[in-house]
Each structure stands twice: as structure tokens, then as C-alpha cells.
Amino acid sequence: MLSLKHIRKSFDREEVLRDVSLQVRHGEVVSILGPSGSGKTTLLRCLDFLERADGGELTLDDLHVDLAHAKRRDVLAMRRRTAFVFQNYNLFANKTARENVMEGLVTARGVSPDEARKKAEEALAWVGLLDKAGEYPSRLSGGQQQRIGIARAVVLDPEVIFLDEPTSALDPELVGEVLNVIREVARRGIAMIIVTHEMAFAREVSHHVVFMEGGRVIEEGPPEQIFSQPREERTRTFLKRYLTDSNMYYI
């Protein structure tokens, strides 16, 4: 359904993405793992044109886009068929929870305010935050904000949702509630690309795991294989270090 080919991106002379290709099937959850600076986040941002890639092609069903030279119309089309969940939530600070979820529907999709309000409240109820519909983001906890961020993405009925480290900015005790909501999204059959450091969660929820380092895809495959029998040495060292490190945190 979504296929990415030969994506390249440099910041100044620093090559961040070197020829990344990736496939996502309908309803599939793909997790991208890798050390910081490996280009995971930049990849997601290029797909939503928050960064402009230097080269690469993107196909979303019938929509073919040249990432480097996409016209405004294609950029908008791509953005209106996908959704993005940010690491630091980025809820609109000047709007209530309900208005945050309504905004894309009303302004971008032209849904009538009444209908948008209904859909927004359904989405808020779905993430368990209907009682916070009238609150501004500044009055909500990080976990609540991120759940609203996910509701804001899901309400647009996107073909694929990009999640950029959705739990890294959260206090450890708030991570669970957000992961639960992401599990629900997966259960709904919405395709997702998740950049994450939650290894256990990636293993449980993904259909496909991609390990990136130095702007390249080093290894990819089903989660059991990547986590139990990684073929590449670099994947092995990364996972080993990560798992021991995170074990140490909890001791």
C-alpha cells in the first residue's frame, strides 16, 4: 500500500538518509528501531514533507510522489491521507482538546462543525478523555496530551499514521496509557509506522521491524526474528545494549 524507494536526505553536508526503501502493507504496523542519529525521525518527517528529501519516491495506493520535487497539490494530498503523532504532542495550544481533534476535519477536510464535533467527541471517548474535551492542553498531563494527539490523528481516518517516538517525552508511569491507545489503533487495522525505543512494545505490536543505523536500513523482518535471531552484528549489539540498559533503569 505504502512504498518508499531510495529516499535520500542531507543536512548541509551531513548525510542523514542514504537510500532508504520500505514497504508497508494495509493495516500493517512497522516499527523503526535504531540508535539516535540514525535518521529514523528524519525519515518520517520526509514522508509528511515536514522535511524536504533530496531524492526518493513515495507511492500511497494510487498516489505517486517524487519526494524531492513534489508540487504543493501532491504535498497536500499526501498530508490529507496520512496523519502524524509527534514526540512532544504538539497539540494546538490555543484550542481545547475537542477543538484540537476537530481542527483537521473542519479546516482541512471541510466537514461541518456539527459533524466534526460529534466525530471528535467519539474519538475522545475512544481514548478515554471525553471528560477533558473542554480543557486546554496546558492543563493536561503528557499522557493525556499524547492520547489526544492520537485521537487527532485517528479522527482523520488516515490510510497510515506516522508516530515519531510517541512515548519518549513521557514520565515512565504515563507510557502505558499511550501504548494501550496505540494498540487499539493497531486493532482497528490502521497502518502505522512507529519510531520507538520501547523494545517490548515494538516486539508485541509490530508486524514488521526495521533496524536503522547511519541513515541505512541495516536489517528488517518479523519481530520474532529481529529480536531473537538478528542476522547483523550491529543489530545484535544495539539490542543487547538497549535491553541491558533498560533493565538497569528498572533495578
Binding site: 514533507f49 497536500l76 496520512t82 512532544n88 494546538f92 490555543n94 483537521g104 482523520l156
Partner: protein, 270 residues
């Protein structure tokens, strides 16, 4: 030196008669400044090709020129060129027929635009980049993101700075006296020409400016209150009441229309 209350009052009345002109000298540049400043700031923040650079250059030049100097330059240009330009466009007006207040408004407006551009630019940077990105990711266009997400958030940040400009502009408006525009200060000193009560005149003028500046300060301060805290302000309570009344009227009208339609249907049956 005696302070004559009756001269003072005469000056006050005479000055107040010119209040509409001062208000024009303040409000028109203010409106142009707000609009132009916001647009120019957006040019620079979004690095619009050519226009962004031009704005930066224009602002830096304009900020180095005192307002009185600019005012006199515009006035001289206006005096010497107006007739030719009017003739060129086939307009029959001559320079003597045009109120010179427009030169003052022009100079003050340019001043406001450059000052506001700087304030708005600072306010732009105070809105996190993630707000724009989230709006774009939701499918909004750049302009929609600007209008619905970014500008509403930068206004509370810009207000304290804008307040300074507005108060400054109210006081600054008196510099147009340099090119002979009549406004509150001129008005207040009219009685002094007869009675030599200059102190009374200037105190009266000062009082009017002060009242105007304070009123403006109070009003603008209301926008400093963040949306979530506005319930406790009298200004926003009044606004909310007006808005509520308007929606109620709409609902009443709809209901009236409904009753009317029902009545018609009923009459048809009869």
C-alpha cells in the same frame, strides 16, 4: 505664576474639539501598522524570496530615521510633487485642497508598520515550530495554519509590546504639529493665543493625551489575558454576553421561522 482654571477649562474644551483628528491620526496608522506589520513579519519569518529581504532592508533604514525628519521629508515631497502627480493622473485636486493630515497619517503609519513588524517577528519566534508542523500534518495549508493556529498564539505575546507602540503613537501623534497639522495639541493652545495661558493649554493637552493613552492601555490589556482565564475579566464577560445574545437571536429567528412555516402549513390544510 497663577494657574487659571477657567483658561484651563477653555483649553480643555478647545482641545477636545480636535479629539476626532487625533483619534484619526492614531487609529488609522494603528490599523495599517497591525496589518502591515503582521504581513511584513510573516515575509521575514517565512523567508519569502525578495519580499523578506526587502522588508529587512526597509525596516532597518526606516528605524534609523527620526519621525520628525521623515515627516518633514514627506511633507516637502508632498508639497512639491502633488500637483504634478495629480495632473499626471488627471485629478483636478490641487495641493491646497488636500488636508495635510494625510501626510501625517502616512508618516505615522510607516513608523507603526516598522515597529510592529519587529514586535510581531519576535512573537512569531515564540510560537514553537511544532505548532505549524502539527497544523500542516493535519492537512491545513500554510495560510490556514497561520490564521488558525499561529496568529492566535502570537497575539497574547505581542500585546505588551504593541501596547507600548500604541501608547507611544498616541503621544507621537502630536509631532505632526511640525508640519502644521491641527490636532489636540493645536486645539488646546488656541485659547492661549488670546490669553497667553500657555501653561493651562499644555496641561489640558497633556491631560487629554494621558486619558487617551490610559483608555487604550486598559483596552489592549484585555488581549493579554489567555483564553482560559478570560471568564474573570469584565471586558470578556461583556463580549461573551453580546455573543450569547447574538446566538440567542439567531435561535429565536430560526424558531420564529419554524413557527411561521408550521402556521403556513396549517393554513394550507385549512
Amino acid at each position: 505664576m497663577a494657574f487659571h482654571l477657567d483658561y484651563f477649562l477653555a483649553s480643555l474644551v478647545s482641545g477636545l474639539a480636535y479629539l476626532p483628528r487625533t483619534l484619526l491620526l492614531v487609529s488609522l496608522p494603528l490599523a495599517l501598522g497591525l496589518l502591515g506589520g503582521l504581513v511584513l513579519a510573516a515575509f521575514r519569518v517565512y523567508r519569502v524570496p525578495v519580499l523578506g529581504r526587502l522588508t529587512a532592508l526597509g525596516v532597518s533604514i526606516y528605524q534609523g530615521v527620526p519621525i520628525v525628519v521623515a515627516l518633514v521629508i514627506y511633507n516637502l515631497l508632498f508639497m512639491s510633487l502633488f500637483n504634478d502627480v495629480a495632473a499626471f493622473f488627471g485629478v483636478a485636486t490641487t495641493v491646497a485642497e488636500v488636508d495635510i493630515i494625510w501626510v501625517g497619517i502616512f508618516a505615522l503609519a510607516l513608523q507603526e508598520v516598522t515597529l510592529m513588524e519587529e514586535s510581531f517577528r519576535g512573537a512569531f519566534y515564540s510560537v514553537p515550530a511544532g505548532q505549524r508542523e502539527a497544523a500542516l500534518a493535519c492537512g491545513l495549508t500554510e495560510l490556514q495554519a497561520l490564521r488558525r493556529i499561529i496568529v492566535p498564539q502570537l497575539v497574547p505575546v505581542a500585546v505588551p509590546m504593541l501596547m507600548n507602540h500604541v501608547v507611544g503613537n498616541i503621544k507621537n501623534s502630536s509631532v505632526v504639529i511640525a508640519i502644521g497639522v491641527a490636532e489636540v495639541l493645536t486645539g488646546a493652545s488656541i485659547p492661549a493665543a488670546r490669553t497667553y495661558s500657555f501653561l493651562e493649554s499644555y496641561v489640558a493637552a497633556g491631560l487629554i493625551y494621558w486619558a487617551l493613552a490610559t483608555a487604550a492601555e486598559q483596552l489592549i490589556g484585555q488581549w493579554e489575558i489567555r483564553p482560559e482565564a478570560r471568564q474573570s475579566s469584565w471586558f470578556w464577560q461583556v463580549c461573551a454576553r453580546v455573543r450569547r445574545r447574538r446566538t440567542v437571536t439567531v435561535a429565536q429567528q430560526e424558531k420564529r421561522g419554524q413557527v411561521h412555516a408550521e402556521l403556513e402549513a396549517y393554513q394550507k390544510i385549512l
